[in-house]
Symmetry: C2
Subunit: 455 residues, 2 copies
């Protein structure tokens, strides 16, 4: 038995029918050489034999003395969690994304450990996919990514590898509070009141007071400049997931030409994609969109957990010239990073929490505040650099599947893997129609910069 | 715009995370002769072209003046409702039932019309399946069955047949209150208070008063004799669906031998299945289980709607001898029917409502009353007698997928089709482990009676 941390409770509290709070990961594999045609069915059989389930995947929610706790599930039904499924004809990536969109829209059963592992056959030429879904209260996005990496190997000859739910428990992994979490910053801001989610009105009042104080403070004024946009509406329960890989070499060539970082270029690609998408919807705000970009601020290797800060990146979506846009985005991010370098840990926590506060206030109260601190989340999660394998099957791509929320209808999360930048876009399907077109607009954004650089 | 009837509101009100209130139907088809291997994919393409959606499938929920209403969905996204999916290897009935179990566990998106149509390929030898899921607030089980029949034809040559969401609207179909509904009986019992679901405490108080009065009345005493059993626990959100066809000829042969009706024999099969299942769980109550069996009471053809009554069938699960059990079940049902014959319409409504009242009270208040009027629902929905086709594909079987509820963890619904009796069992997967074994126990129940009859 383990009490839920305030942050974990927050994710349960925020969850509602039209706002599931689980994160996911999609991995694309190709068959090992010489594997039989029914390779995936054989793999399913093999996985079904892993009836041992290690922490945290054995945990289900319970209540003790009116407090939510994690308990070991005595009656874990692996068939509920491990699902062998198939794509319909013609089994393209399109059918896979449709499948993940539907699955990512479904709430999980709170009577059971909050995770699902979907093994998906019927994909193209001797490929298959794995879609892992975990509630954010159980595992945060970064930890989930770490566990997925732990499941993989760089050795193509290795076999008998366990699935994610049967990994050996590592020291420290059991502690739900060791991972980096932006949400925890909100908890810090609130101090003690954040530990009592039962008293939401108190927490919300505290948030409101802090926000109002900050808005009067010139030091924090720049936080409250995001325009209103269609990205910042109430959402429905249906998701659209879109994912694609982009060549890291191409992105790096643009970096060199413009003397920017990889992160600047992918942020500029997102800016172009958003600009084109919103213009096509006749909904581009006159003021530039602001992206919330979580960044790691770790200065040394001494601490196990990462320190996470938030950059409010001006995306300059009002600027028609792609090269100018990239340069300005680069300057903005650089300025924010420089500012962080001069800040103490406490100042960083305060700044981060203030940035998140309006969204937290809205999520907790359902009231729509007039101030929007950012329009979209663009998150970059580190991934493996080398070619990875799972039981001999080569990992071709891995895509994050994150959370859309009320007033934050779109989440753009990316990771890097083996010379690729892997984008996963999650959005409310009704608020943001034809979201999948953004994949082409991301490509257009990169091509535009290549042309501007004369590449 | 059309206000929701009190009954429709009831289904929305009763729905919660672990208790979805949708009904479903599973149809099994074989390919038309000479159809190509990618027949189902071609069918999917054809169905996607039916972008016109007729009433009630175009309706979504909205609120006007604080009252729930149905409105026409201006932005209906067919891709959300029509889903082309596939079974994993080896594509047996077992994989199909696993698929339907998972899909039937998912809540639907309330921002959209509350229905889904799943076209499923990858089933055995040139077969495919259709799983239709509709919220009970939109369409009740009998109406859904009627619409499915309207989608079919007895002519194997007919092509270009519309799917269920594009059927021509028939006069009368628009009126949500014309179908038979047991739930409406509860509304009748409550009179005006039943029309104001906003005041649930009032409704519940009224129910409690009525139940307590009835328990003192010797005429209604027999209603409150069901034992407590594991079937009558709180449920979780995961469902297990199990389905199988049984030969009507075999069942009729038993009928003739014992001078009973088909319905008596299928009820006796259910009794045996429940007895065996509960004995294996070491959970058979000493007192016999009571089944709630909805029956049609229409005496003439003058009225469009069916009058529905409820028989509380004693299943004699304490009786070890199968033949004795069948005879007693037959006598019990006959006595109940005879009693109905002497009752006025008003008396029938009162009796039915009283039978349902304890379950309704529990569902509305979450409080577990001490009185259980029945342990399980066994429902027989009329189906087509002749071989049916859909676009040339022969219908091989059709199975109802109904609702499990708190304290009614198992629903046994059956229908008849083309010389078969088609059972669909829906249960809470955690409360009732290995529910699928009941299919074998139903068969055992039939075989036992055949032996007893010397067949």
């Amino acid at each position: 038995m383990k009490p839920l941390s305030p942050t974990d409770q927050l994710f349960l509290w925020l969850e509602k029918r039209q706002q599931p709070m689980h994160v996911g990961g999609l991995q694309l594999f190709s068959f090992p050489e010489g594997a039989p045609d029914d390779y995936v069915a054989q793999l399913a059989e093999q996985l079904r034999r892993h009836t041992q389930v290690t922490t945290p995947f054995d945990r289900r929610l319970d209540t003790r003395l009116a407090q939510p706790v994690w308990v070991h599930d005595e009656h874990l039904d692996l068939e509920h969690h491990f699902r062998f499924e198939a794509l319909p004809t013609p089994g393209r990536i399109r059918e896979l994304l449709t499948f993940v969109s539907a699955e990512h829209s479904h709430l999980m059963d709170r009577e059971r450990p909050l995770w699902e592992f979907h093994l998906i056959e019927g994909l193209g030429e001797r490929q298959f996919a794995v879609y892992i879904k975990v509630h954010h209260a159980l595992v945060d996005g970064i930890s989930a990514m770490r566990m997925i990496q732990q499941m993989l190997t760089t050795n193509p000859a290795e076999r008998d590898m366990p699935p994610i739910w049967d990994l050996p428990v590592r020291a420290g992994r059991d502690d739900g509070d060791d991972g980096p979490s932006l949400w925890r910053s909100v908890g810090h801001l609130l101090g003690e009141s954040g530990k009592q989610l039962g008293t939401v009105p108190t927490v919300a009042r505290e948030l409101l007071r802090t926000i109002n104080d900050a808005r009067k403070d010139p030091a924090y004024d720049s936080i409250f400049h995001a325009p209103r946009s269609i990205l910042n509406q109430k959402i429905t329960g249906s998701r659209r997931f879109a994912a694609q890989s982009y060549s890291l070499d191409r992105i790096k060539a643009v970096c060199h030409a413009f003397h920017t970082t990889v992160n600047d270029v992918v942020t500029a690609m997102c800016a172009t994609a958003l600009r084109t998408y919103l213009m096509n919807q006749d909904a581009l705000p006159a003021k530039p969109l602001i992206a919330m970009v979580p960044v790691s601020l770790r200065k040394d290797d001494s601490s196990e957990g990462n320190q996470v800060g938030v950059i409010l990146a001006n995306l300059h979506t009002d600027e028609p010239d792609a090269a100018v846009r990239l340069t300005r985005i680069h300057q903005g991010i650089q300025t924010a990073k420089d500012r962080y370098a001069t800040m103490s840990s406490e100042e960083i926590i305060n700044y981060t929490a203030l940035t998140l506060a309006p969204a937290a206030f809205h999520l907790l109260t359902g009231m729509a505040p007039k101030w929007q601190t950012y329009n979209v989340v663009i998150s970059n999660v580190p991934g493996p650099k080398e070619t990875c394998y799972w039981n001999g099957a080569r990992l071709e791509g891995m895509y994050p599947v994150s959370i859309a929320m009320d007033r934050l209808a779109l989440n753009m999360t990316l990771t890097s893997y083996n010379g690729q930048v892997e984008f996963g876009l999650v959005g409310c399907r009704r608020t943001l129609p034809s979201l999948q077109r953004m994949l082409d607009y991301l490509e257009d954004g990169l091509a535009e910069l290549e042309r501007a650089a004369g590449l």
